[in-house]
């Protein structure tokens, strides 16, 4: 399993740097900008109050809360991080095994004396370590300029909102992995998991305005995203709940991987219903 983990991490190197530096860059811009924001607070508040409440709902608050460090970081940074890091998670999770399978490489890899369990958990561990590494880089980007900023946030407090982001990333990654074990193509699995992620973001955000949506949103991961509020105290129940849900999804994916055929050349795949194929068959039958 350690060999698999080592090679998985080597494969994720580029993504860790790319996504990690991207999130860090967001922090490096946002933190110094807070002072400008405070200087121009009156104008910003006027601008924010002119926004429709539906728009503000996507950024997790109302105009009044934006002036606090937590509200400011939540609106401009942490409200979007689950989607940004979620894109990495969906791409990485759906391709964790399926990209090698689609290219035909998995056939030879599984023929080596590494159990399917070791391969699965080794690669999943590689994904998890990569997600943590991306968020550590991001946290450094958000924290390194705190000393020169009027944001009254310590490095430790800044680390707390990254934990709910991590839980979201694990959840979407595990979901994409599970889909890739059942669906015939990696791209389809990524699309399905991506749809869940986007729907989760929109429905959960809108649920703050429409109570009818709250019933549906309760079943979606973003509903349990604490964001920058975690600076005031991490909601462990939500965090652990999402980690537990990710674990269940990963266990289901593993159960499926243990039992399924390793595909090459489209074996075991299934095709979506095609109207033209049905008509063609009918024509051939006649």
């Amino acid at each position: 399993m350690l060999t698999t983990l080592r090679y998985a991490l080597a494969q994720f190197r580029g993504q860790i740097l790319g996504w990690g530096l991207g999130v860090a860059a967001l922090g490096l811009i946002l933190v110094p900008f807070y002072d400008v924001f405070m200087e121009q607070q009156a104008d910003f508040m006027q601008m924010l109050e002119s926004y429709p409440p539906e728009f503000l709902a996507f950024f997790g608050g109302d105009a009044a809360s934006m002036a606090t460090p937590s509200g400011y970081l939540g609106m401009y940074g942490f409200s979007m991080l689950p989607v940004i890091v979620g894109i990495f998670a969906v791409i990485a999770g759906s391709g964790l095994l399926a990209s090698d399978e689609e290219s035909g490489r998995l056939d030879l890899i599984v023929a080596h004396p590494v159990s399917r369990a070791a391969l699965f958990w080794g690669r999943l561990a590689g994904f998890m370590v990569s997600a943590v590494a991306i968020l550590i880089l991001g946290w450094l980007g958000f924290s390194v300029l705190l000393g020169g900023s009027s944001l009254d946030v310590s490095w430790g407090e800044m680390a707390l909102p990254f934990l709910p982001v991590l839980a979201q990333a694990l959840c979407y990654g595990a979901l994409a992995l599970l889909f890739s074990m059942f669906l015939p193509a990696r791209r389809l699995a990524a699309t399905a998991a991506g749809l869940v992620m986007v729907a989760s973001y929109f429905l959960s955000s809108m649920a703050t305005l429409n109570e009818n949506l709250a019933t549906v949103a309760r079943f979606l991961p973003y509903h349990y995203f604490q964001g920058s509020d975690a600076m005031n105290g991490l909601n462990f129940a939500w965090f652990l709940g999402l980690v537990a849900a990710s674990t269940v999804l990963a266990l289901l994916a593993w159960w499926r991987f243990q039992r399924r055929d390793i595909r090459v050349g489209g074996e075991g795949g299934w095709r979506l219903p095609s109207l033209t194929r049905g008509l063609r068959r009918r024509a051939e039958a006649q």
Partner: protein
């Protein structure tokens, strides 16, 4: 299963949806032999090999590889086996050497790197070149090396000479012979009869997911199948010969020459020929290819399901 038996399947079956790829494959391969697995594209060769390595799960039947059920303990089987897939896919971003080191690491570092370099030299492969810059044949050489580099007890090779030039094909066949002389068992699939005839001691012919024949290569070739070319002094009714049991007309020229395939005893055939004005008679032992084709001609259905 006796200790001498390295590979055994009984009633092995596998379907992909409605397509029945294997319909009860029975095979026995013994320690130290080179066993050729023959069949046209889609006959079930690859599916059989992939079941043996637990890459796909059979629907029914029993499988034992090196005395182990591959579904119960795949790692034990895979650790003692070298496998070359029919459709080899490698990591284009690595060099040949990095790719081979990856495979060695997946085996817990169990590879003799001096041996790897010897193999690369014999196969004329530059290990420093990136996979993406290698031709199909050179990628195949990487595949052959990874199957051999840990000197396994059992080699399962799916079309090992695919994409290789004739010189390299001979080199690979030589490597298989050497592996056998070092005590390994070689099970390889092919649809190139000449290479099977050159190295395999026994062959199985698979047709539409069932074993049509298992025999020693020499006996299969020798088995009563002859090709007879007959020229007559004057036009005759070759139907007299064609109506004999086991005789099939392959070609006919101007009523004076006829090429026939004769299966089984030739006594009756020669008696009928004796009553005809024969000016020339030549009989030849067919190649394994002709024996193989005979299984797919003479009324056999050519249509395969996968």
């Amino acid at each position: 299963m006796s200790d001498n038996m390295v590979l055994m399947t009984q009633g092995l079956s596998k379907s992909y949806g409605k397509v029945r790829a294997l319909r009860g494959v029975d095979l026995e391969v013994y320690r130290g032999e080179i066993f050729g697995f023959l069949g046209p594209n889609g006959a079930g060769k690859t599916t059989t090999i992939r079941c043996l390595l637990d890459l796909i799960r059979p629907d029914g039947g029993d499988v034992r590889v090196l005395g182990i059920d591959p579904q119960a303990d795949p790692v034990a089987v895979q650790g003692r086996t070298g496998y070359l897939p029919g459709e080899l896919a490698l990591n284009d971003n690595l060099t040949a050497e990095r790719q081979l080191r990856f495979f060695a690491d997946m085996r817990g570092g169990k590879a003799d790197w001096t041996f790897v370099r010897q193999l690369a030299e014999r196969l004329d492969l530059d290990l420093k070149r990136p996979i993406k810059n290698l031709s199909k044949g050179n990628k195949q050489k990487v595949g052959v090396i990874q199957a051999l580099m840990h000197q396994p007890e059992l080699l399962m090779l799916d079309e090992p000479n695919s994409g290789l030039d004739p010189l390299m094909q001979q080199e690979v066949l030589g490597l298989l012979r050497e592996a056998k002389s070092d005590g390994a068992t070689v099970f390889f699939s092919s649809h190139i009869m000449s290479e099977v005839e050159a190295v395999a001691e026994r062959v199985a012919i698979i047709r539409r997911g069932k074993i049509a024949e298992v025999a020693e290569t020499a006996s299969l070739v020798d088995r009563g199948l002859r090709r007879a070319t007959v020229r007559f002094k004057e036009p005759v009714d070759s139907g007299l010969l064609a109506r004999l049991p086991g005789v099939q007309v392959l070609s006919r020229d101007d009523g004076l020459s006829v090429v026939l395939q004769v299966e089984g005893e030739m006594d009756e055939f020669i008696k009928v020929l004796g009553s005809l004005p024969v000016s020339y008679l030549d009989t030849a032992r067919p190649s394994l290819e002709e024996v193989f084709l005979a299984y797919y001609e003479a009324g056999h259905d050519h249509k395969e399901e996968i």
